[in-house]
């Protein structure tokens, strides 16, 4: 009995599932172009993909960064419809030739998600350099991580296109590393209670803005949008029409001959 009921209800449920739009939100993959800031000479691209489970997959490829050094990186911005964007050098209010993180924040917004390599991703981990990705000896940085939906601030996936990726860490004096000799101590780190961190480590090197978007998950192959059921309809009509005309011609020929033959005999 219950089995029979299950048999009956299953198609109904399936039909309902198929009939209603399956998701209110689109899975999408947002392309970000990382542009140099503070004459870092760096460049990069990033992809932010919202999965159908609401997770966020982040992939960053940068080059030209300070080699063998950690690069703090975050999603900056807001989901409250604020119009943040990447700063240009006019944001350098103290005129030291570098836009510091504090100077950039009014333009690109506060830290929204800290893109750490492991563990916590909250704003509080913004300066957790021990969990930030490290550029290799050539200054290339690869970062891939999927942050679970539960660990994302509300609205992240819906506002992916409003967020900016910022990667920090410049080499002002060109000695291949972060040190106090370049730009002194980081006022940002100091205000967060961390002493002895060079300003070079916290000044932004790259800021990314959305440059495009793609499907979040690409279907396999072509699309089966047709069963051919009306494909031969024209041919059938053409065929029928042709046969009818042929039959009409046949009748005309036969009746003509019949009317012709007797008249000849009569003569």
């Amino acid at each position: 009995m219950t089995f029979r009921r299950a048999l009956l209800t299953a198609p109904v449920v399936a039909t309902l599932l198929l009939a209603t739009p399956t998701a209110a939100l689109a899975d999408e993959s947002v392309q970000v172009k990382l542009l140099e800031l503070n004459h870092s000479g760096a460049s990069g691209t990033a992809t932010l993909t919202a999965t159908d489970r609401g997770d966020l997959r982040i992939s960053i490829r940068s080059r030209g960064l300070v080699p063998n050094s950690p690069h703090a990186q975050h999603l900056h911005g807001s989901t409250a419809g604020m119009d943040f964007h990447c700063p240009d050098m006019s944001a350098d209010r103290d005129g030291n030739g570098y836009v510091s993180t504090e100077e950039g924040m009014p333009v690109y917004g506060d830290i929204f998600v800290s893109l750490t390599t492991a563990g916590d991703t909250a704003k509080a981990s913004g300066l957790a350099v021990d969990r930030m990705p490290v550029a290799d000896a050539s200054g290339n940085l690869r970062y891939d991580r999927t942050i679970a939906a539960a660990d994302l601030p509300p609205g992240t996936v819906e506002h992916l296109k409003d967020l900016h990726i910022v990667q920090h860490g410049v080499d002002a004096d060109g000695n291949g590393k972060y040190d106090m000799a370049g730009l002194g101590e980081s006022t940002l780190a100091k205000s967060a209670g961390l002493t002895g961190i060079p300003e070079e480590a916290t000044d932004p090197a790259l800021c990314g803005m959305v440059s495009g978007a793609a499907a979040g998950s690409v279907p396999v192959g072509g699309v089966a949008t047709g069963d051919g059921s009306t494909r031969d309809r024209a041919a059938v009509w053409y065929g029928t029409g042709g046969l009818a005309l042929l039959a009409a011609l046949g009748i005309v020929v036969v009746t003509r001959r019949r009317s012709y033959v007797p008249s000849r005999n009569q003569r």
């Binding site: 739009p21 689109a26 899975d27 979040g216 396999v220 069963d227 029409g241």
Partner: protein, 211 residues
Amino acid sequence: MIRARVLAAVLVVAGVAAIAVGHHYRPAAEPPRSMPSSPAVARSAASSAAAASALTRGDLLPTSPPTRVRIPALRVDEAVTGLGQNPDGSMQVPTDAHTVGWYTGAPTPGALGPAVLAGHVNYKGADGTFARLSTLHPGDQVEVTRQDGITAVFTVTDVDRYAKDRFPATAVYGAIDHAGLRLITCGGDFDTRTGHYTDNIVAYAELRSTE
């Protein structure tokens, strides 16, 4: 004798009528098969490299799912439903000839990126909503109404035909720097062995205005 003549006349009229009906139902003209390197890709790549300050092109709407699609040139005005993926990873298709499906694994129409709508060319003995999709011309309008009440008006830029086994995933689903739309249906030869058409027709469009 007269009866035969009448019969012949009736047959002529019926035959001409049948041919006229056949002409009415004739398959839509289709563009030649193209190779997966679509001009749409090259264009978007070229323009995204252009201006650094404005990385995207044209109007962009926030995310909102589509509810209805209108294509004046094809006299199409149909409801839109959501489409996911089948267990084998292929795109689901609408369960009737008329409803148009929006692929939920891609952006919503009017938002940045490629929105994808699929409709049947024919299904279960009826011509589908996209039966004459292949006859769209660049410049034709496609209007998509969204749940937020905004209508995104697109104009067709290209109509191409591709073998399904060489479906241009990057051109159709890949990253673009504007709000795009792709309308997909079937075309080409019909393979009676598999019960499927061999090709897909893809119409590419770009957001031009919003209402």
